[in-house]
């Protein structure tokens, strides 16, 4: 709708602490926008531009391993 908005503007930055993450997959399964993926045993923010900053991955992460920073 808004053509003026720069393409790089994202609602949030998702950070993963790989040494605390246990790859349980809860964040991946319940992300409403399918942003996260587990690839070769690592949690990856595969589609960061799709993130809507709903915070559900951070809230449901049992390992204190995900933070979602709203910009």
């Amino acid at each position: 709708m808004n053509d003026e908005q720069p393409a790089s503007k994202k609602p949030a930055v998702i950070r993963v602490n790989g040494s605390w993450c246990k790859r349980c997959g809860i964040c991946v399964a319940f992300c409403p926008k399918d942003v996260l993926e587990i690839n070769e045993g690592n949690l990856e923010v595969a589609r960061p531009d799709d993130c809507i900053a709903c915070m559900l991955c951070e809230l449901r992460c049992p390992d204190f391993a995900i933070t979602v920073e709203k910009e």
Partner: protein, 270 residues
């Protein structure tokens, strides 16, 4: 983004809980509730017994007390009695609170002492090898019930209500915002406040009950928990196999430490 770092002992991380265990989700909800009520770290005490849930005090940077199996409530009663101004939070499991500590559980509720009790209910003894607990549902499998449990489970929250607790709620870790809200209400309540929190145990419970993947257990919570308002509209058949969540009891009753203070004033005045 919530900054948990000021409330946790980072040197003990990553924590020992299994991948997909809900205990970490509860701890985070508790930290947010404590922070949201502006309770300082010095004003909060966490007391636990033995079990997976009872490892929680090792990770949280407030005053903590890790005690013996089933005895978190007596220790917490002592702390509260000595310093009624502290916010005393008990973290316990279904085995710790309703089996070995069952008597303490009903009597602390009856006494209506101002404790906030988080009862992590994962339907099993996780730490000791997946034995049946008093909350294991009928028909489910455990290491001590390889062909299915034939005993009916305790209604843990109902037990606290009938014993006299002034605030009783049930929450689950899938609906994590609601869980946080219940914990917050329990912290605010003046009296014995129980929040029973349904939490997945993929290792000891899930693996034996066709839900080894943590996501399956979270989906089970999503699909089988019913908020109290909706529960009222369901027929007995529709309630079958479902779990009611929300605030189940919220009443005003005399609180133990306040009554004790009154007693001292009365007797000393004589």
């Amino acid at each position: 983004m919530f900054n948990y770092l000021k409330f946790i002992r980072t040197r003990n991380f990553p924590h020992i809980w299994c991948p997909g265990c809900g205990d970490g989700i509860i701890l985070k909800a508790l930290i947010r509730a404590i922070d949201g009520l502006d309770i300082s770290r010095d004003e909060a005490v966490m007391v636990s017994g033995i079990g997976c849930s009872s490892r929680t005090p090792g990770y949280v940077d407030i005053n903590t007390l890790h005690t013996t199996h089933g005895r978190a409530l007596p220790f917490a009663t002592g702390v509260k009695h000595a310093s009624p101004d502290l916010n005393v939070i008990v973290v316990t499991g279904d085995g710790d609170a309703t089996a070995i500590g069952g008597n303490h559980y009903i009597h602390a509720a009856r006494r209506n002492i101002n404790l906030t009790v988080l009862l992590y209910n994962n339907y099993i003894y996780g730490m000791t090898g997946g034995q049946c607990s008093p909350t294991t549902p009928r028909g489910d499998r455990a290491s001590t019930a390889p062909y299915g449990n034939i005993e009916p489970p305790f209604n843990t929250a109902g037990l606290a209500i009938s014993a006299g607790a002034s605030f009783v709620a049930r929450a689950d870790v899938y609906n994590v915002k609601r869980c946080e809200k219940m914990i917050r209400q329990a912290l605010e309540k003046d009296g014995f406040s129980l929040v029973e929190i349904l939490t997945p145990c993929p290792t000891a419970y899930g693996r034996r009950n066709r839900m080894a993947n943590p996501v399956k257990l979270m989906e089970w919570l999503r699909d089988n928990t019913v908020p109290v308002q909706k529960w009222e509209k369901l027929s007995p058949e529709e309630r079958e196999g479902k779990v009611r969540v929300g605030v189940l009891a919220d009443t005003e009753k005399p609180e133990f430490t306040a009554e004790y203070r009154k007693l001292i004033e009365r007797v000393q005045g004589e």
